[in-house]
């Protein structure tokens, strides 16, 4: 086994499972960004720790008040909420996804690795009443891809998001609450 092979196998062996995005932590980043830099000479460390606690509290589903409440109410208008969603991936595929509910439809931010190069995939939204709505397609690269897909259906009407290959096999699926 040469060094490159050893590196590859070690990387494979060590690769920790990345949990699905947590909506609370995404919201904490959003709140921290909306509040702006906190690295001013005034209480920089305390400010940072407050942000981190905000993230941990939000991640745990705990209601936050005080500083956290102020930060969350100080969001900027260009920041639609990114809703984290748990996804299931086929063997060899790794993916995470977030949803953005627009007034005109649903947007999916998909971070996916492992789709075979040259293979075309289609994203479909399955609505709560069983309709299938196209949400765009992309071609696998064999590496990491970060895509933004849109479909003409409202978030509240979408029950499932599916990415399927030409044979119909699902590469990624997410059941929405």
């Amino acid at each position: 086994m040469n060094d490159d092979e050893l590196f590859e196998r070690l990387g494979h062996a060590l690769d920790p499972v990345v949990p699905p995005l947590d909506a609370g932590r995404v919201a904490a980043v959003r709140a921290a960004a909306a509040a702006g830099p906190v690295g001013s000479p005034v209480e920089p460390l305390r400010s940072r720790r407050s942000m981190l606690r905000l993230g941990a509290a939000a991640a745990a589903g705990i209601a936050v008040g005080g500083t956290g409440g102020v930060l969350l109410s100080n969001e900027r208008s260009d920041a639609p909420a990114l809703e984290a969603v748990a996804v299931r991936s086929a063997s060899g595929v790794s993916a995470s996804a977030g949803l953005i509910a627009h007034t005109w439809g649903l947007e999916v931010v998909l971070d996916i690795t492992g789709l075979p190069a040259g293979t075309a995939y289609e994203m479909t939204f399955v609505t709560t009443d069983g309709r299938r709505v196209a949400a765009g397609g992309f071609i696998g690269t064999g590496g990491r891809m970060i895509c933004r897909n849109n479909g003409a259906v409202l978030r509240s009407d979408v029950a499932r998001v599916v990415v399927a290959g030409p044979d119909g096999a699902e590469a990624v699926a997410a059941d929405l609450a």
Partner: protein, 188 residues
């Protein structure tokens, strides 16, 4: 535009937008960078929660430091560098409750339905041996390899993070690999 696909900008583009004041760009940068940062932090810290906290803290610090960012190897190595500092502070604070148990690090790629049972068993045994040997490496060598293997950084980026020359990083990684091979042979 419904029914379409748009590639998300790369991390450096997102960072430029974020620095210009876009909250959404920060959010998207978090989505894009989190897997790399989490993998690195999880390998260096004892629990999933500590790793998630480290990634959150990394972003809080990045937001605070964005105005001082200077272009170099790129924003991802910059974020990994911040994450590395967060992890090291966690060590100093005693936040690393115990050495990471290698058996909990069986990755998403560990199970492969396309392999037969015998192949999976052999691959699993090999992965266990690699994890055991990795855990025996000195801490600084574990970190060096983690920056390359788990955070996905090349020698130039690792050198920028740890403040050494790329050649020195490559030599240090080679020494770590040689030591790893020795442990693997002992384990065989």
């Amino acid at each position: 535009m419904a029914g379409g696909t748009e590639a998300l900008p790369g991390p450096d583009q997102l960072f430029e937008r974020a620095r210009a004041g876009s909250v959404r760009a920060w959010e998207e940068l978090y989505v894009v960078a989190r897997p790399q940062l989490y993998r690195f932090a999880r390998l260096r810290l004892a629990t999933d929660h500590q790793a998630e906290d480290a990634v959150s803290e990394t972003f809080v610090r990045a937001i605070a430091a964005a105005a001082r960012y200077r272009p170099g190897p790129g924003v991802l190595p910059w974020l990994v560098g911040i994450c590395r500092n967060v992890v090291r502070e966690a060590y100093r604070d005693g936040g690393r409750a115990s050495v990471t148990d290698p058996t909990v690090l069986v990755g998403a790629r560990g199970a492969d339905a396309e392999r037969g049972p015998a192949e999976q068993l052999l691959a699993g045994e090999e992965a266990d041996a690699l994890r055991r040997s990795f855990a025996r490496l000195p801490d600084h060598e574990q970190e060096l390899l983690a920056l390359r293997l788990v955070a996905g950084l090349d020698s130039d980026a690792v050198a920028a993070i740890i403040g050494k020359r790329p050649g020195a990083v490559r030599m240090a990684q080679s020494r770590a690999v040689a030591r790893l091979r020795g442990y693997l042979e002992e384990d065989a």
